[in-house]
Assembly symmetry: C2
Homo-oligomer: 241 residues x 2
């Protein structure tokens, strides 16, 4: 078990919102300490999910939103004929389950790509709390708005027709999101398989692999298994469109 990163001083006590590393990306952004503790009270924390564990499945009753503390979750739906379609990758600080509010049923599957811990936010209680905390209400709207925007960016990413563009944009997108979390800028680890990437981007998995090696040959990136280092950020940016 590659215990590579030595900077993870694991916190074994249950993390309160107040002490959460990704708080600023999550729901309780810019609330007072008192208000945060109100949110904190309704949060349900569970045992970490192991790789391959499902957070929820298509058709499950909607119990609440989930905020990723650390780890990564993949969401995917099934087409009528049973083909899998990956709809998103959710990293630390991102909220998922927003797509279930309307119908009160989860429309997709959510599975952990690695060891992952999430906070469950029971939605009915959350809504009650928004009645007394306008700031929270606004934050909820913002989180949902951000999710809508995120999906639009995915559309933009898929729009550019060539495989290279898609791959490059995907790398850049992921890099940006990783950078918001860890300090390290141009080197990170993929939490998803080539399979998942290819499915997400609408490409064959071989194409994904080839594009990676292509970029590697051009000395723009360096890839070892799932670890990527961006050697020439500007060059990569230029390829994006």
């Amino acid at each position: 078990m590659a215990t590579t990163g030595s900077n993870l001083k694991l916190i074994h006590v249950k993390t309160a919102c107040e002490a959460c590393r990704v708080r600023e990306l999550c729901l309780p952004t810019s609330l007072t300490e008192a208000d945060i503790s109100l949110v904190d009270e309704l949060v349900v924390r569970r045992e970490p999910l192991e790789k391959g564990d499902y957070l929820y499945r298509t058709g499950d009753d909607f119990r609440g939103l989930y905020a990723v503390q650390y780890g990564a979750i993949k969401t995917y739906g099934l087409t009528l004929q049973g083909r899998e379609q990956v709809t998103g990758f959710h990293l630390a600080g991102e909220v998922l389950g927003l797509d279930a509010i309307d119908q009160e049923v989860h429309p997709c599957n959510a599975i952990a790509l690695e060891k992952t811990e999430v906070c469950q936010l029971p939605f009915d209680k959350l809504e009650q709390l928004t009645q007394s905390l306008p700031g929270l209400s606004h934050n909820l709207s913002r989180v949902m708005s951000r999710e809508i925007l995120r999906e639009q960016h995915v559309l933009m990413m898929l729009g550019g027709t060539t495989a290279e563009q898609r791959i490059v944009r995907f790398i850049l997108n992921l890099q940006k999101r990783m950078a918001q979390r860890e300090i390290m800028g141009h080197s990170f680890r993929f939490c998803m398989s080539r399979q998942d990437i290819s499915n997400y981007l609408g490409l064959a998995l071989e194409t994904v692999s080839r594009q990676f090696t292509h970029l590697q040959e051009k000395q723009i990136i360096d890839i070892q298994n799932r670890h990527i280092t961006i050697l020439q950020p500007e060059a990569l940016q230029k390829l994006a469109d």
Copy 2:
């Protein structure tokens, strides 16, 4: 239930929410009459947009949400190099502008595809009102959730690799949305050009045209200009995946 024949008289005075034909798809779903009139008070109604008029442009300040009363709006963004990417088509009863809540700036352009009338819902006032109307607050969440779900379906639509699948899913998607509005089931009019469709689906416009004629030759649909009739719904459904 469905609107009865006696309700069909056109209302030429500015339409109040209460009398709006697409109310059930919009924000004031399942509110009491009294509550609806509160929402109604904050709605700003304007002159109709003509085809080609912009509702807002990228970078415009976020003033509020917009609900389409009738007509159709196309939203699109620009990539870094200036390529247009269509991100959505918004029909009567659909709310747009949700993507601007977080940053308080519109991230895309919204242009009318035909004569279109919208209600403007100033967001700050709307948020104030949600504090006293929990039902409205919930509806807002639901509308946003629905939008997230809608975009996921687009991803699913684009996922299937072949051009035929994309076209077919697009037709079915549009048909479903039209059916929610008008009674007529399998015959409707496209509000967008082939250009727009191709851009949206990530295909060449010639491919779109060819696929349409293909389906026409197979007697599955009938297309005259922008008017389409689905002759064999089951066959079409089967092609979707």
